[in-house]
Symmetry: C2
Subunit: 372 residues, 2 copies
Amino acid sequence: MPATIRDVARASGVHISTVSRTFSAPHLVNPETRVRVLACAEELGYRPNRAARALITGRTHNIGLIIADIANPFFPPLIKAAEGQARHRDYHVFVADTNEDPAAEEELVHALAKQVDGVLLCSPRMSNALIEQVSREVPVVVINRQVTGLPCVMMDVGQGARAAIEHLLGLGHRQLALLGGPRGSWTNQQMRRAAGAAARSGGAELTVLGPNPPTETGGSALATQVRDSGVTAVLAYNDLMAIGLIEGLDHLGIRVPQDVSVVGVDDIALSRLTRPKLTTVATPTAAAGRTAVDMLLQHDSELRPRGGGRAAAVGDRRTTAQVMLQTELVIRDSTGPLPGRSRPGSVPDGPGPHRLADPGSPTVTTGGVVAS
Amino acid sequence: MPATIRDVARASGVHISTVSRTFSAPHLVNPETRVRVLACAEELGYRPNRAARALITGRTHNIGLIIADIANPFFPPLIKAAEGQARHRDYHVFVADTNEDPAAEEELVHALAKQVDGVLLCSPRMSNALIEQVSREVPVVVINRQVTGLPCVMMDVGQGARAAIEHLLGLGHRQLALLGGPRGSWTNQQMRRAAGAAARSGGAELTVLGPNPPTETGGSALATQVRDSGVTAVLAYNDLMAIGLIEGLDHLGIRVPQDVSVVGVDDIALSRLTRPKLTTVATPTAAAGRTAVDMLLQHDSELRPRGGGRAAAVGDRRTTAQVMLQTELVIRDSTGPLPGRSRPGSVPDGPGPHRLADPGSPTVTTGGVVAS
DNA sequence: TTCTTCACTGCAAACCTTTGCAGCAACCGG
DNA sequence: CCGGTTGCTGCAAAGGTTTGCAGTGAAGAA
């Protein structure tokens, strides 16, 4: 039913190669011929078959985006930013969700491999070794993880966690807890290390609870543990867990921030909607999406050798940069002074969130260019 | 670099067709040969090129899912359900986001057309005529919209809106407002019609405000209008708008539900997290995702004719069913009795949500099978 | 022994497109 | 009038796979 290039050629009385050129190199064909061909194509509803084109050009003009959990509101801004950036470069993004399952992750990248020019691996749960292996099959940019030899875009959650801990120390807290995220998460490691160091150097004690599923339920399930541990302030792996925890504490009759302070990570839209509004470490998710697409497509314009070897596909790994994006602590209403010293009952509604305008572009390249 | 079928054939000393059969019809090849071929394939890291396979079989084993806005928490459960169902049938789902833009929508389905076996059009914003047109290019199942002659899965928001209005009437409200959704939304029409009828037959007045963007901001922007209109209860197009409205009213010093009652639609996870918890119309989004995939793939097993015509691709339209899924009103804390009669200050925390277990499968086929 | 059947494998066409090369006509400068 | 350039078009190979058909050898039946 769908018209092929041959149908158009027949209808317009030219060779198929002329039709092909009409679409992929219009300047090579006579204007008169061109309009005739275009008219026929229009009439027949012809659209070039991208799969067939990909077979020979080696370019699909698609990129894959693999993420752990679409339902986590952390991802949509990243997805949208990546889509927008890709669209500018005439690429499409296919999103796939792995349900936090490393096996599904691997299967997906294999399924995607031949249908896309590269994949963005976002917050991968699989091992570094496996990532390196799949990166030999298809160009990969890793988001939210550092793996040597591969292009990565990371968010400096270590710095964020440190800022959060220091904020809590400044409020007088000395008994702190960290709600760990999922096993296999690089972010989790970074936070743990940085938070631990910050707490130690502030003379405070940090209890680590976890690993846990990085969801609201994961957070609320920890409420009793948090209560029993006697801590007065908590840093959660992400906002969802923080919100879940607040919810769970509420059920136990523990108030936030009067009795316990809670800090999240991500600054998802939701964190502005809950009561109390969440103090959190804002991560530049949109910038991460844009940057990752740029890195994957940086060699876009390079010509592809015909015949000889396979395509020097997009994202040729001759220079692999590693980019670290900055995070920022946004102070809202879920943190307050240590219970003992608080002016009871009143939450300081004072200065409100002291946050700079949306980071967007202040991307800091720490890794620079690394030869591989 | 990536190994092709030819490399494997050479390595294992057989013809490429044997290699091909080893993967797509193992019973046709000698067990000994098979293990040898598999071993070589394993060693070379060979994976069949799905694009090339699709070129000849006419089946990509991919399905496209086009949605208006990934950031809307309404969609993720649907996406996940569709992915799960597809995986069972050995299909992959590619998700794409249109940013609520009808033009992007059309472009996307064209881009997807040749790379998938069918597309799920979820809450489309384009015209019915356009949908019918693209459905001639690629099999389509429409979600959240009724278009005659095409398979559709809908949620009965009309019934939901009616139930919501009746709930509000029961609480004594007579001045009602409906916060409209985006232009081009079928759901919007259904709600408007049903809510209008229910209000009329209850002797109440219904003001329609809109159209509006179906987001939290869209809701909060309407706060002053709602105040000035003097209504005492509001039904919003979706939960996001409802939550935004509550937020906006809060800034104006108007309390929910004491001063104004608010009902949302969708029952997104978030609606259980805000304070007050949202009264809302629960929609069976997961079931919708599953059902849509099933409908698209129902002719999966049919053999494809070689040569002759093009593939009788998936979702052959010989019988096109239209399925209507039921919705359910979930009463929580954002609705209360008419201000005049209320016991001031206390929100009835009483019976809590009186909701049946997650609907899941109670899917009701209203349309039955329709010849096309 | 001869014929049939069977299990397996090879051959080659087909899917739809891109692209290097060659052909061809018209035009230009000399 | 000739050699060269320019602008356009056709030819055919290539890309990786599937699959109908035909061929092979061996086993079984008559």
